[in-house]
Symmetry: C3
Subunit: 274 residues, 3 copies
């Protein structure tokens, strides 16, 4: 009844671009609720936007329309898409940004019906001219099939997967948040499957060795008594995205350890203990 539209872009908040898209949406869908996920995706970083989508969409009610515009190919040949997956709607360029929701059940449509775009379409701002009006029409109840024809070959990203080498899990940093905490592509499931039930993980990252996991940012990793994490020292935990994360208590791990997205992390089982 009062549809929600989320917005994720690399437009930043300095320019009026985001506000302009919201104006376009409200002209078509006056009752829409507009929720910013983030507009500070690194310019043209499609993989980062896909990760943001993966971590956020499911916290919204079913029927939410998620609009993502990180679009280095704007004005070129890449197709504009609308997707129905897992009870949510998605509107975005066909460049892999929707990878996390493109499972077998996902229904993908190419946005071709110009009557649902703005009348005049620029070659540089499809967020305003194509994606915003399409998202608004979907929020107003239009079927995706009204907006264009079905397609079966949407672009997907090659997401780097962790590799098992003997007793070692080899992964990498895939996301760094505001606090400098380092999210890896090693999920809690893999960790649990690879380690024995009483084995502590030993994490190697940036020349540091971390033994054991903390329960939280304010606890340390060396024992089960939950004493406090030592300040200034790298620690590890399973974070709110259910992934292995490296942090330094009340400090910025990315800066302190000089690490970036793509840098290596590995996990072994602690051999010294059962």
């Amino acid at each position: 009844m009062r549809p929600i539209i989320t917005l994720t872009t690399d437009f930043g908040l300095d320019d009026p671009f985001v506000g302009i898209m919201k104006g376009v949406i409200l002209k078509i869908a006056p009752e829409a609720r507009l929720i910013d996920i983030t507009h500070n995706i690194e310019p043209q970083n499609i993989a980062q936007a896909a990760l943001v989508l993966e971590s956020s969409y499911s916290y919204f009610p079913q029927g939410t329309v998620h609009m993502l515009v990180v679009d280095p190919g704007v004005g070129g040949n890449r197709r504009p898409l609308a997707v129905n997956s897992r009870g949510h709607y998605f509107v975005a360029p066909d460049n892999g940004i929707l990878s996390p929701v493109l499972d077998k059940e996902a229904q993908c449509f190419e946005l071709t019906e110009k009557k649902f775009f703005l009348e005049s379409i620029s070659n540089t701002f499809h967020g305003r001219d194509v994606f915003a009006p399409s998202a608004a029409w979907i929020a107003q109840g239009k079927d995706l099939s009204d907006l264009g024809g079905k397609i079966s070959d949407p672009q997907t990203l090659d997401v780097p997967q962790p590799i098992i080498e003997g007793k070692t899990i080899r992964g990498q940093i895939i996301y760094i948040d505001r606090f400098g905490n380092l999210t890896t592509n090693i999920g809690v499931d893999l960790l649990q499957k690879h380690l024995g039930p009483n084995q502590k993980p030993v994490v190697h990252i940036g020349g540091k060795k971390i033994t054991g996991l903390c329960a939280s940012y304010s606890e340390n990793s060396e024992n089960s008594e939950n004493s406090e994490a030592p300040e200034g020292q790298a620690s590890a935990l399973v974070n709110s995205w259910n992934r292995l994360e490296i942090f330094i208590r009340e400090d910025n791990a990315a800066e302190k350890l000089r690490l970036r997205v793509g840098d290596a992390v590995s996990v072994d089982a602690d051999e010294s203990k059962p």
Copy 2:
């Protein structure tokens, strides 16, 4: 019925100032929709805010109230204004920020009726004490003439206009966006009028020469076959504001070319081709 109020300021998003203004508005107009255009106008840069207004207001529905607070003269003698123009409402200090909508049909009122302000008025935060409550009352349906007397001499900015010198258009950079793309004051109309129908423009900027226009960021300028724009090299196109823009594909042109707002750009017709 559910009026929209847009907000454009130089208050930034670090301080609670924007949130406070929204609280003031919602106390008076509980149903108002509050849409941020941007709060990152360069401190006290009235010309930048005017350009943001020009590029954004018309994408909102008729009847929207646009509130702009870039107000170096707060607490001094400058008048607070409410303006009705082109079916939209505008609330702002009288310092030229509303220039883009101050045409002959615009109706301008000085906000003088203190009963529509907060009870206690500071000398430093009229966004909270004067403009937010006035915008809210307009959203609630108050006539502008209820808020103060009509005036006929609102301040306007001297916007730098391009100059024609023989076969050359001389303009300047007026806006730089998050991506470092350089918007100029040379509009597509002037470009089309000045160039012959088959003549390519030759753009000179920052010691670089750019021949021809790209159709989009992912296409180059040298031919009509739409091959890709060379990376690392300055290119030009007509942007989503219908202005000549200089960009570097997947790079920051402002940083690479070391150019700023106010720097010169010129356009000639390519003499080598018909």
Copy 3:
């Protein structure tokens, strides 16, 4: 009927954390109005968040739910709280962040009823798992006593108070805004009580001496004719939070004077004039 929820955090706007919390809220309270106060609190700076709360909450309608998440102790022993004070609701960790509203009449409850949290509770993101759903249920009309038991010992901050030494008020800088203006902990009440009715204050800060107060940023301090404040020179006024503030006209006082939160400021009465 359409409850307002304000959000104040140190999560920043680069990551999807704020958007995720809003999704959680809208699943529970579909009609809630979500207003950002700021998400750029300095990481883990509880005192700064408390000051932001103090300056903002009362501008919102009675019944507003204010959610604050600056939470260095997340996952540890600190209690999650819901508070009813002065007709407003507050949801936050029990770390002193709510100090400005914790007067004798404030009713404080520890959030213990897990049925009002998300089903799975992480150790690192209680904003999403605990505070957002609790705020949403309060906005939906739940009594605070439904969410947990009453407590009488919430944490409070030691806020630095100005000291009177003979004829001198000794205070400090407590907040620096986007413009570099320096808010002190010296309130207008103390100033008026300490100075004679016709005495001008003499402010000492960062090696500078400022005589008299300006009425506004565009007026100077040396006389009553309201001539303009000299550019490039430190001036003082009573700001919109009713506190003594040091500023430099159209410049950044914090940078120019190299001053930070905690630095000293003192005020004497001008002895040379009556």
